[in-house]
Amino acid sequence: MSSETLLQVRDLGVTFQSGSRTTVAATGVSFDLRSGEVLAVVGESGSGKSVSSLALTGLLPPPPSCVVTGSARLGGVELVGMDEAGLSAVRGRRIAYIFQEPGTSLNPVYDIGFQIGEAVRLHRPEEADVRAAVLRALADVRIDDPARVARSYPHELSGGMQQRAMIAMALACGPDLLVADEPTTALDVTIQKEIMDLLARLRAEKNMAILLITHNFGVVASFADHVQVMRNGRIVEQGPTAQVMGSPRDAYTRGLIACIPRLGEKRRRLTTLKDELRAS
């Protein structure tokens, strides 16, 4: 694995301003991410886990309604405060995103091939054969019949296939970093396993870094190298996955792990976050 740091985030903060009300969505977020590495950001809804990754490429409302502070350097280039032209060269091309609901991220009136092709035409104008690039991207995500899927419209595909198509679109331009924001939350366990296995293989093949955002420690254990636990916009704990999950220091981390029901475990009641926080 390359030890070169791809993304260096220091003291990143996101503040929303609405009228006279100020909401700090994230503050003091710092981490390093190397090529080929997977960092999982774990937290509940509203913990600020998504907002810091959206801030990387300016996918938040413009100031004054939203202010991003601190520093995020991708390959040494500062992203915070970069102009729109610079950001749009990074977005999609170097940092790509996949989201929770593939059905709502795809455009219902264009076929899958056109939508992947759009990303290629925009970010890699030097590519002569767009169609070949599209079919290659679909084959990369282990779709058996790329030509048929390229002709399909989103509603003709299952949730798992839609998410594969989204991943193909994200990877068509060979990004250095893939931000996967709850990529399997809306999917069945069997499809979840297929998608996570696929992401693990692609990361190894392409030496791509992945920022995995999730509320479920279950998917983190087998997949992430490092874990960052967020609560109310702050990082409460971070470290290697085995260490954080094996001997969590923070009561909040322990609570998030303890509240997941496990197979074969007979308990009268499920442990809640409140139980764990009260105990400490």
Partner: protein, 267 residues
Amino acid sequence: MTQPAATLLEVRDLAVHYPVRAPWFFMPAPQPKKAVDGVSFSVLRGQTVGIVGESGSGKSTTGKAVIRLAPVTRGAILYGGVDLIGLSPADFHPYRKRIQMIFQDPYNSLNPRTDVLGIVSEPLEIHFPGMSSAEKEARCEELLLAVQLSADDLRKHPHEFSGGQRQRIGIARALAVQPELIICDEPVSALDVSVQAEVVNLLQDLQDKLGLTYLFIGHDLAVIEHVSDHVLVMNAGKIVEQGPPDAILGNPKEEYTRRLLAAVPRF
């Protein structure tokens, strides 16, 4: 339990087939889509039967068929010995009070323009038309306290609540008419794991206190194992296997169940 529990619901050879239209009028109509095809099981009073399966397995359709939200092609649904299938809408009406449902998506199953009082008291208006407004409000307050919300929440609207709180409002609405059976259609699938644990505990506390019977539909095997007294594994409209949760999920006989179990992340 001191005496053997009585059967509350018995489903026999249930089938829900949706007709598929031919693409052109001169073509023969294709085979109907068999969403549920020959499903039989019983639910004992005061117990929880869990149905687990992937999307498209027919698990939700089975639950919906019990309260006529899906058209039944064939079979019998015996509720306390009475077959619900043949009943006229007027004769079925009292069963709508005895059987309630809570839904997966707490964001889409509550009317955004009505306050909590309006949402929770709507079933009271239908099933207890004689109740005065003061009585209804008192009953709604009691229900909110039962689901661990506060009486102050009565005048708020759904957008002021988090996902977990909205699911509690959905549960309060289902409890309003004092049902016997609640069909829980993926009640915790859309929630954070931390909130999921709270809602699951709440449903179990309410069951103990009120003697409720649940038909609990889900895709998370660990949740289903935790809540159920009896588990059905469904695939492609049929029951693959059924039995007590430790036998089915601890020592599955069918290849399909093993495959489902293998996909669950372990840590």
